[in-house]
Amino acid sequence: MTATPTAGLTGVRQMSYAEALVLGLRRALESDERVRLMGQYFVGLTEHRKLVASLHEDFPGRIWFPPIAEIGYVGAGIGAAISGLRPIVDIATASFIFQAFSQVVNEAANIRYMTGGQTAVPVIFHVNHGIRGGGAAQHSHSPQAMMWNTPGLKVMLPSSPRDVHGLLRTALETEDPVFWADHVKLFDVVGPVAEEGWEPIPFGVADVKRSGSDVTIVATSFMVQRSLGAAEQLATEGISVEVIDPRTLVPFDLETILTSVHRTGRLVVVDECHRACGVGAEIAALVAEHAFDALRGPVRRVATLDVPIPFSPALEAFVEPTEAKICAAVRAATG
């Protein structure tokens, strides 16, 4: 468990997630001349993309615009990492990772192991994941469960401006391929970020976003924000909820979660992946395995229902994990 000691740092400013992300990219480009950005949709097609445009002006020649050829440029990112650059490859909408799947899971993830540790692939793959509103079945994916099932990749899922900014620094210093997913709905979330210096946030250290004593919620990415909203609501009903954000799936901080579950005895896992074999399934299974006796009821999962994402806004709201669903799961857990 870590606190969020932004108070002690100088120059802390409230900024949007998108701003913190782009500030991180800027510092990456400033601090390490090996860094190249391949792609330009880091904050999607939102208004925030102007921030990315400012990077073009300040770092000419270090941002590359590949053709619509995901196998080609994702593979090129891997090769560039092998040969001494630190590419941050933007696959943009997470659904497009399926075009480049073989390069990510068969090549990047395996190379260190296959070569007996000889060759490092320090590449970062960035995607915008999640149900964005009207994205329908081919622009709404959350592929992180598949990435978690792929040994060799590190998986980073920030949920706040401070986290995206700090985790990016650690990702950049990581000698392994990192899969980095931002939820499209996080870009407008505002929070404190230290403007000076570049505070790293380590991988494998979960963050307790809210303390509580009745139920533990483990949530990732944008679901952290939704869970915090739900916790606020539940507090008015007298239910005290602890919200834990693992921040990275690989490495995974099981300890912090187990400590909390030993205290609360109840666990709700909130994740936007599809339910079957989703991130929630693994967390539920792990906790059930390691805290069997501490659990006072079954682990409840709030996940996206197992259907392709429908287009209609009415249907979309029904499939995704909402605050109302989180509240209902917590109420059911506390019985």
Binding site: L45, F65, G135, Q138, P308, S312
Partner: protein, 332 residues
């Protein structure tokens, strides 16, 4: 949908019909744009205003049982193939009466009853699908043609190349129609490839290739007619590259600042509807003072307005609809 006779021998009625079809699409897309601005339609919306000549020219040569697979900018292809504007608009607005009952939206429209099989949100994702439909036609001994519409951006994808190779090797009845509008998403083609014409790839695989003015509905029709004839006769695939231009951004809301105003003005002057109207006047199919042309436009807009009212009055799907259609058979 009836096939339009070859452009050379087309009757005045056939020609006016082509103009009406282009107006039907233009009116539809402008209405959709308006509804999107008003928040009545959500999601990513890609309009093909300015490219109507390709869809109408090509679809005019197809039968209902010819199967069309299109990309993310597909309203025109669906309408040209005969899709019902009201059901299409209802789909864009996420209504139960939409073609896909609200599950597809703009990028995934599907109207199989008129031979518009599906659109796809993945660049070039539809090309292998059309290839498969062409393969099925051969195996089932049908003389139908499969058609893939795609943009110049698709030319840089692996799926495109793999499909061209197989279509040529297996001599499949596939029509590949590339709408080269000069921009792959937000980037001029020259930044994506050294290839100037996407048709150059097709030639390397031995596929007969025609490059035509995509804003000339008759030129597109001629090239496609030749390809359809070849495909039906067992002569294999044809590649038609139609040079055109989208007058809107990549998606609704894209300010498209990556383009020069002069370029835009130049292409506005080449608007396929304006040009074809002039041709029809010249051929005597329309009166020179523009009365009939204005009427055609008004009728198209009226029809779309009615379709829009009907579509927006339709119910929004409920939770009961959600879990249907994941599987054709027993649910998983």
């Amino acid at each position: 949908m009836t096939t339009v006779a070859s452009p050379e021998t087309a009757s005045a009625g056939d020609l006016v019909d082509l103009l009406e079809r282009m107006w039907a699409i233009r009116a539809f897309e402008e209405k959709v744009s308006e509804l999107y601005a008003r928040g009545r339609i959500k999601g990513l919306l890609h309009l093909g205003i300015g490219q109507e000549g390709v869809a109408v020219g090509a679809a005019g040569q197809l039968r209902t049982d010819d199967l069309v697979f299109a990309g993310h900018r597909a309203h025109a292809h669906a309408l040209a193939k005969g899709a019902d504007p009201e059901r299409l608009l209802a789909e864009l607005a996420g209504r139960t009466t939409g073609y896909c009952a609200g599950k597809g939206g703009s990028m995934h429209i599907s109207a199989p009853d008129v031979g518009f099989v599906t659109a796809t949100g993945v660049v070039a994702g539809n090309i292998p699908l059309a290839l498969g439909a062409a393969f099925a036609a051969v195996l089932r001994e049908r003389d139908t043609v499969a058609v893939a519409f795609f943009g110049d951006g698709a030319g840089q994808t692996g799926a495109f190349h793999e499909s061209l190779n197989i279509a040529s090797l297996w001599n499949l009845p596939l029509l590949l129609v590339c709408e080269n509008n000069g921009y792959a998403e937000f980037t001029p083609l020259s930044a994506h490839t050294k290839v100037e014409r996407i048709g150059e790839y097709a030639r390397t695989y031995g596929i007969p290739t025609a490059t035509v003015d995509g804003n000339d509905v008759l030129a597109v029709g001629s090239a496609v007619a030749e390809g359809v004839l070849r495909a039906r006769a067992g002569g294999g695939p044809t590649f038609v590259e139609a040079l055109t231009y989208r007058l809107r951004g990549h998606y609704e809301g894209d300010p498209a600042k990556y383009r020069e105003l002069a370029e835009l003005a130049e292409w506005k002057a080449k608007d396929p509807i304006l040009r074809f109207t002039a041709v029809l006047v010249e051929r005597g199919a329309l009166d020179p003072d523009g009365t009939r042309a204005a009427e055609i436009e008004r009728e198209a807009r009226d029809r779309v307005a009615r379709a829009s009212e009907g579509a927006l009055a339709a119910p929004i799907p409920g939770p009961d609809d959600l879990l249907r259609h994941v599987y054709a058979g027993a649910p998983g």
